[in-house]
Symmetry: C2
């Protein structure tokens, strides 16, 4: 195979296998090329990845001497996307009765969801994460988007037990905004003890739901390494019960009367 073809094939491989370690001899064998040629190929791939702000190839030292693709969404790419999100969310037609915001179209767009996943996963690139946890239903696509970049599985907390998942652990918690008692359930075999967990959800107000997930995860002796949400609401009435989290956007005001929504970039940009 010629270099030109190898480069296309390598790019496909890395994009399909983020964070997976592959030894150089494996590539040599696949492509029937010398290790030095493969090294030059990898330099080219790495240079383009960095140039486009989509990540880089990490070289792993030692006898096996391999590489892995660390996907990253550059700050520039992330900021462009977050501004686009803010503009979309400020559309007054999104206002629903009760001051809620219609977001299902954004959450239903695989490309948007994929970008949210890349922004969050970039923020968590340094954290130790074994599994992404979310609660049904709206956080699910975002959880998969983050998990596929981090190359870890997804576990879904449910609000009702299902017969098709075997025995499970459940907790009751008080919802932050409605003050109602709610239930959360996780099948016993879905999560190993002492796992490092990243919690992902679509929306956070006071943080009661995420706090509920954390309580449930305590039953599994899990360690919460990261919390990420697409949108947080700036809610002055309720004190936030979750301390460390990242949000892409912050909805500061939903004014049903004057049909006005104010959306700003979330705290994820404040650390850049």
């Amino acid at each position: 195979m010629k270099r030109s073809e190898r480069l296309v094939s390598l790019m496909n491989y890395f994009m399909e296998s983020p964070r997976e370690h592959t030894a150089l001899p494996v590539f040599s064998e696949w492509y029937g090329a010398a290790k030095s040629s493969i090294s030059e190929d990898l330099d080219i791939v790495d240079r383009v990845m960095r140039g486009e702000g989509i990540g880089h190839l990490q070289t792993l030292p030692g006898a096996s001497g391999g590489v892995r693709f660390i996907p990253e969404f550059s700050q520039e790419n992330s900021m462009t996307f977050i501004r686009e999100l803010c503009d979309m969310l400020e559309d007054p037609e999104r206002i629903l009765p009760g001051g809620y915001l219609y977001m299902s179209d954004i959450l239903g767009d695989p490309k948007m969801v994929g970008k949210v996943g890349r922004v969050l996963a970039s923020a968590f690139a340094g954290a130790d994460i074994d599994v992404v946890v979310t609660v049904a239903t709206k956080g699910i696509p975002l959880a998969y988007a983050v998990a596929s970049v981090l190359n870890v599985p997804v576990v879904i907390v449910r609000r009702d037990p299902r017969v098709t998942e075997g025995s499970s652990v459940s907790i009751n918690y008080v919802s932050g905004s409605s003050r109602k008692i709610q239930t959360m359930v996780l099948p016993k075999r879905s999560l190993q003890e002492n796992a490092n967990v990243c919690i992902v959800d679509d929306f956070m107000k006071a943080g009661g739901t995420i706090n509920g997930i954390i309580s449930l995860l305590n039953e599994f002796k899990a360690n919460v390494s990261a919390v990420g949400v697409l949108a947080e609401a700036d809610d002055e009435e309720d004190e936030r019960v979750v301390d460390h989290y990242k949000s892409l956007v912050k909805i500061t005001d939903v004014d049903g009367k004057y049909q006005r929504i104010t959306v700003a970039p979330g705290n994820i940009v404040s650390e850049w």
Copy 2:
């Protein structure tokens, strides 16, 4: 930019933008390269894609003369994956009380889910599809996997209405296996009338759930172009109420007493 770098960049672009039409002059401008050089680049990319069984570049004629990446999972790749699925599912430890099968680990693995999406999307490549519809909860990751390959949005039918989605249409239907009356809800603004719909779910027994989705979609005057499930159960007692569908695997027997599960490739392979 050199050809070698252009090829890496192009591959990234196509994989991120499946089925999106891009005119050749756009590439020329991006890369500051002659149209003839871009054409040669595209030939190389197309050749590698075909060789690896991941799809091809479709050339669109006319003044704009562009291309788009049609992702396809080759029959060879699909069959390898389906056999792997069958082996995984035949593990007796998956048997749950009531003859159910534990599949949450497979559905929780973004790589597996991505492959299911590619196999189904390849089968539906010729169909006219505007949107992928699924019902909460387990079908959601599969629906996004199919939708991201087809480059269309996802709409999620719920079993309970939510205040955060505005006014909605609901139907009641009889579940095929439990004979219970169940409800399905879809927000009014989530689906336009006369849409061409692909229904995706994780599991189908008699087909009551999918039939329920079809009834609900009738209220939106939708046209069901395709139905795809990960697994179907060969259920002799219940007559199937859905005629045209594709399944990756068929669970023919779950024997709790003798701890034996029999899983075979589904009807998706029968047309190859």
